[in-house]
Symmetry: C3
Subunit: 661 residues, 3 copies
């Protein structure tokens, strides 16, 4: 299954969530005609179809779906068929209120929205499994079936449930992880604050407590919660596999921001899917999007599906901006450039009512005579010309390492600074790489790093000794590494690496961190170089590391940025959060040391240049026209026309240059 999309569709995935059950059948024929006009190749069907399909326990109403699947098939459109389990029907909560999830403070989350189920609840799972069995039985051989869409946005709204059923499941999970209750006590350091357990039955989820909870309890509960949702997914996948061993199974992830652990989930997906909702009001949003695409691609090291994006505005921010003319096309190409083999939208036809009636759709309230439909159809036509691209990959020289345990753990309180957020820190380190125009993979610390020339490691707070050793080994073997402060501090259950910070990285970095000196909120420290640091400083003793920059003030003269030759490689260390220019210069030096070149030397500011296989994408995020350099011998992949060495690119314009090897 080298290229899932090429194999199953033979063309780009292009389409939307299709919820025809919200509309009278009289509309469906128009839908088919418009889909064909728009170049739709695949739609996600039935995601919120449970209530209309299973109208009472075990009573299924499939004819509506039969008709939809037949219509799709008749019109050459394939289905990414949902298992419908993302939001249970009202009768389930009415009959089984114990399936409703609870917050840490005990608040029940009631029906009326979506995702109101406790992932560990056996009644929910039993009902979900029975529905999936019925769906798989009925549609296993349907010609429209292209792939399975399990659940929807797992953990988006209810990443954790604290109810009694979840408590019991948590205890079972702990029993699997820790052979004895004393192993648990040891891992969680429970002697502190008189928390020592004598039986697993005494353990609770980290519910609301008088003050700071045990950090290992909190962290393990996040792991358990991600795993409880994964069990739901796997339960469904097992049923689907049994019925349709050849049909790929996926589920759509909802962002890199530390709800479910996507690095743990990814091996269980046949293809990675992602829902991307950049905010047009945020100038930085394209960098954030690029980061997540580089992460999704790296999960499998293969193309992925952009399973949802908005045709224009969303509805769930405080102020919801539409995408300006050209912006949706530009951002779609950004996803393709960074590995997407599909561009799908939420949703096909804008809902008349319900919570997302103001979320944009391909067919708006006003109908297809609209800018959004027009721009979508134009993109559909373009993608039909880009089939050769499918399955092609991206070669990155740089890896940015991010770690789910660290991301979760840094959300905790009772740290030297409690406002470190790994998602923000990762972006702060990714941004200068994006600006430098180099290709990046966003990977877990356990990834094979040997293929990379440079590895950037922001705040790897929680790390096991053997994983840390792998990073050292990478540098010893000639790798280049940039690491930021508060890395290597604890193991996977929040126990400090004793003997001096940063435990397993001291030798690699050639220094010890004697004390953490967080700065006051809103405060900053001047650096010897003229730059400034915020948030954090450290009392460092260099043991061999070269000092690139120093602190002033209380820590005057002490190292702020260092560079250590280690084995055949070099490890750079940042003991503060430097200003943009300082960080850019540190990264630039590391890129230069490592011999990493930009994808397109000479690309103007605001132009994102990304290579995918034989194709070079030039994405102009400026609102005005620019001139871009083009490699010799390239042709416009959309028109086939040869390109000159210097091409004009309109504001928000895209150039896909085919540059055969």
């Amino acid at each position: 299954m080298d290229s899932v999309v090429r194999h199953r569709l033979g063309r780009f995935g292009f389409g939307a969530d299709y919820n025809p059950e919200q509309w009278p059948e009289s509309v469906w024929d128009e839908d088919m005609a418009l889909m064909k006009a728009a170049g739709v190749t695949m739609v996600s069907v039935g995601i919120f179809g449970w209530a209309v399909t299973e109208t009472a326990p075990g009573e299924y109403d499939f004819p509506w779906l039969d008709k939809v699947m037949d219509l799709l098939s008749a019109n050459g459109i394939r289905a990414c068929l949902a298992t419908m389990t993302a939001s249970p029907p009202p009768w389930l909560a009415h009959r089984h209120p114990e399936t409703l999830p609870r917050r840490a403070d005990g608040t029940v989350l009631w029906p009326g929205a979506r995702q109101h189920y406790c992932p560990s609840n056996p009644v929910y799972r039993e009902h979900a499994g029975r529905l999936v069995e019925a769906l798989a039985t009925r549609y296993a051989r349907h010609p429209a079936l292209a792939m399975w869409h399990v659940g929807n946005e797992y953990g988006c709204h209810v990443p954790e449930c604290f109810c009694d059923v979840s408590a019991s499941a948590f205890r079972d999970w702990l029993g699997e992880r820790y052979p004895t209750v004393d192993a648990l006590n040891d891992a969680w350091s429970t002697t502190f604050w008189s928390q020592r357990y004598t039986d697993f039955a005494q353990v609770w989820p980290p519910r609301t407590a008088p003050t700071f909870l045990n950090p290992a309890q909190v962290l393990d509960f996040k792991r358990f919660s991600s795993h409880a949702l994964l069990e739901c997914y796997l339960m469904e996948k097992e049923i689907l596999r049994r019925h349709t061993p050849d049909v790929p199974v996926t589920t759509n992830f909802v962002g890199a921001w530390h709800r479910i652990d996507v690095t743990d989930w990814a091996p269980h997906l046949d293809i990675v899917s992602y829902d991307s909702y950049p905010d047009p009001h945020d100038r930085d949003t394209v960098v954030q999007a690029a980061f997540t695409y580089d992460q999704m691609r790296a999960l499998h090291g293969r193309p992925w599906l952009l399973l949802e994006q908005a045709p224009s505005a969303v509805n769930w921010r405080e102020r919801n901006a539409p995408k300006a003319p050209g912006e949706m096309r530009l951002w779609s190409y950004q996803a393709i450039a960074r590995g997407a083999d599909a561009v799908m939208y939420f949703q096909w036809r804008q809902s008349r009512g319900g919570a997302e009636r103001f979320h944009s759709a391909i067919v708006p309230h006003a109908g297809p005579a609209s800018r959004v439909f027009r721009e979508t159809a134009e993109l559909g036509a373009e993608l039909a010309r880009l089939t050769p691209l499918l399955g092609s990959g991206t070669a990155a020289d740089v890896a940015l390492v991010t770690d789910w345990s660290s991301g979760w753990a840094l959300q905790g309180k009772a740290l030297p600074a409690s406002d470190l957020r790994l998602a923000e820190v990762d972006l702060a380190h990714y941004r200068p790489l994006w600006n430098a125009g180099v290709a990046v993979d966003v990977v877990a610390p356990t990834a094979d790093l040997s293929r990379y020339k440079l590895v950037v490691v922001p705040n790897l707070y929680a790390v096991e000794t053997e994983v840390a050793a792998g990073l050292a080994e990478y540098v010893r073997g000639g790798g280049h590494l940039v690491m930021s402060f508060f890395s290597g501090i604890v193991d996977g259950v929040e126990r400090v690496h004793l003997g001096g910070y940063p435990g397993p990285f001291r030798e690699l970095l050639g220094l010890t961190v004697d004390e953490f000196w967080p700065l006051p909120a809103g405060g900053s420290v001047a650096l010897g170089s003229g730059g400034t640091g915020t948030l954090w400083s450290e009392w460092i003793t260099a043991h061999g590391a070269e000092v690139l920059d120093t602190f002033t003030g209380e820590l005057a003269g002490l190292p702020a940025i260092t560079r250590n030759a280690f084995g055949d490689g070099i490890a750079t260390y940042l003991a503060t959060r430097p200003d943009t220019a300082t960080l850019a210069s540190v990264v630039a030096r590391a890129l230069s040391d490592a011999g990493v070149a930009p994808v397109l030397p000479g690309a103007p500011a605001g132009v994102e240049a990304v290579r995918r296989g034989e194709w070079l994408f030039l994405l102009n995020h400026n609102e005005t026209e620019v001139t871009v350099p083009v490699p010799a011998g390239a042709a416009d992949a959309l028109t086939g026309e040869p390109l000159t060495e210097s091409e004009r690119l309109a504001g928000r314009g895209v150039l896909v240059a085919h540059t055969p090897a």
Copy 2:
């Protein structure tokens, strides 16, 4: 019942909440003497008297109230007698904790404050009804009884209850409103997010949920909640009517800000009552007060009662300013000018303890030798000279349309911009009218608009097609209309009017709104005219409308303010929230188009001129003296002295000019 106050009292209502049960009887005689000295004509008695009157279920202690009523009668003071049901005694919650209300997250609201009852609870209603029966039986013929004061500030603190009893009552209410569960499904668009019901029993109040609730569920629950309180009121009124068919029944509303739906309640009151608490720290507070008075008067189109105001400071804001010398008098006349036939206060004697011990009273903690008592008594003496005013009305040429469903719906989330608040928007549109000195009625969209020259319609977001048609009919017949953006979008259950925005107003306005373009929080857009817009912009295509102003930026050149000739009238449209000067100029042009003149041309800035029948009120909100023009032949209504054409009016001064027709 043309003038309830003239009929029942024969003079201005002037008095206060009188809670003698808080004081030893030895104080009551002094109370009577002071009331007479202050010119008190009526007091509200017994509002929080339930606990002292019904000391155990069914055991009543009336002698204290007999004595109070007799004392009042003996001193020529009438009673607005409360039904005492606003706050149940502790024994009720002790015996029936199920009567306590719950928040959306399940939190019980306990005794210790006030209003701690679930309006739908049958036990509460039964106890309340029994008490009212006893009160009505005992005092039906008492000579002091002037009118009935049912409950108190319904919905002020507990506008909605989410308990299981309320859930059941909500289902019954839905069953009345929707003939079948599928009618409910259709109205609520429940197919979205798998919310389709198969039985009313599956419906819950919009309790805390994982994410955005179904907007129709939320909106209908607000309607139900207002109705549940109205049922309490009506249950009591029915008892009172049976015993005293000729005694007027009222209850005091607490502001226009979308708790209970006063337009729904008003038909059930014999006279509208209102509690008004302007904030002396807020310069805009007199405009806000004027708005609410124009709304209260327009509910019945007849005079109303100012049933509560503070003699000086309140106690429930973060910082509670007293009213400066003259301010209480000035603001009292503002209410009278805008239709009040009574000026009442909370409360007579300042409480020694309890939650409102720092709320001002006519007799302060220091006793009657105080500024507040002195100013109150002076006002009482003045009002005794204004009896001819009673029952007179106000003729407004302008209507401002406000709509409860829209007000509630805009409180929702998941809108293009989630910080639109109709109360603020209404005020923003009322302010230029107040500044222009024109008379305004604040009315519901279903009101008869034919009597108005100009109708201003801010954010009529939720509107039924037939109501929208009425507005169009008004303009077609020669009316003038100013409408602001995001109007005509959904029907009464939050279903979008399909086919292009603003559904039922496209023809009237001569344009389509192709897309909503909310601005970033804190952002603004320059207008072609030099003004600025905030919050919102729109991509508009004019179909006949004249473009008065345009946007710059992403929507450069597209219409921002338009004017459309429709039938014999003109409809102006605002596609953004313009700055004060721009809005004032749009309103000025509309007033001019419509031929609306100010009440007193040439009135200085800060002087509010209001006509009521033959009386012209000139209210100087400035702290310094001004000179005001006076119509020829006018006399000072307080002194009887003739007035010249130009009179000096002290800072915070009032002139009531009698100008016979």
Copy 3:
């Protein structure tokens, strides 16, 4: 027991919380060696030892503690032995979930942190008592036992519990306080808002309610809650006293900020103990610390124990700064100067895991080769030379009066201004005294004031008439008093002193406050003197008081600061919160009037001069060297060297001058 520490230890208390149960026994010998190297004399043992000591109900595991106690004894170190009841083991909540406390909104506070018990719960108390009995039995005669450490930081995280058990205990407490339910009704002014009770069983804790709760109910519940914790303490103390009548008993208070009422608790402690956690990021923190030390010392009028401070950083603020080199020593001497006979730390060895793994310790994660250990050991060596100091006292001429009832009551809402916080106000009045370098006792209003030349009384809002009379008596007898606004307003159950504000202080101050005029949030009022006031102003009529400063604006010309000769003394009154310079000048004049001299005339700015017995402490809070005057004949207490009249004192330096009388 004149000097508990001299009597029990014979040298300064110097040590830390010692939690060896968190570490393998192999570490304990190193601990002993390091303690001796650091000069440790006493450690607090077993504070969170319940779970490891009582592994199942009634099953005790004492050998580990036997070994620790023996080791300490063998090494000449004494134990402040904890009763271990501060945080119950998991099995207690598992077997008895009803022991868990609840918040006002009903939220249960679960295990996973610490202090998760309802103080009124009999099951908790029974288990706690049984454990204390076992501990006292076993260690009563152990030579290491120096004193008992009961519980830990009572009320730090759970100052109030609102569960049903607490509700029942609250009713019992009320029954003790009020002879009849009508006495309760009278005290609580329950006639207001229909809250009159007919049975104590109807009373609830002040749980979440629809709006402002009865203020007396809230205030009495705070008293009850403090008392419920005190009962826990006394229950344990009674057991300990029975077993070890001669061993002093203490518990560590956690700040003056109105959790438990330390003035009510102090009589039950054999020696006052205090946990002090100044924030190195806050320049004002040394003034705040001085305030609390002056309060702790004044509780008994005898030396106290600094039972916890951080060796460097804490972990529970948003950003946790370490103490800079010299800062811990400087601040330790500040505590000693202000009466501490012990300097103890949390904790000895930094935890590897758990919620406080980033709280500094004497032996950090890196081990003893660290700045923190080095500085601690140096201080230990110094203190060994200061044994003569033990037990010596401080003579203050100034008292600052603070009152727990007022502090609690001002946390309420529904006041003229709801953002008055007595802790802040007290500090605002203490700061100019600290700057002036005078010695201050922080005392309750019931203290014997006759020994003081000046008494400063910030916001004594709630005061009984007889207590107010005591203050007047003090002034009449020649005392000087400075009082700030909103004093003398209510009695101890929030009932206003009728007849004019400030009820019992009108004659003393020579004025009446006719009205409160709080300023708008963020607003200010100019004073006639050129200063400014914030937060508050008042309409004052002077009846004999001299007007020192006036208001401008609405209250132009009315008194803002007054000075009244009363009997043989003078009472100054502040009707606003003046700017720093104005307040300093008012305080300076009062000090001058009262004849109060600074401890060390001529001390440079930033140098804190404090006298304790024959010792004069000079604490340089500046980061740079200063020159300080030294009394003739003084010697350096640490070196024995004679001092000159002018000594150089390094930045963050300390000079302890011995100046025999």
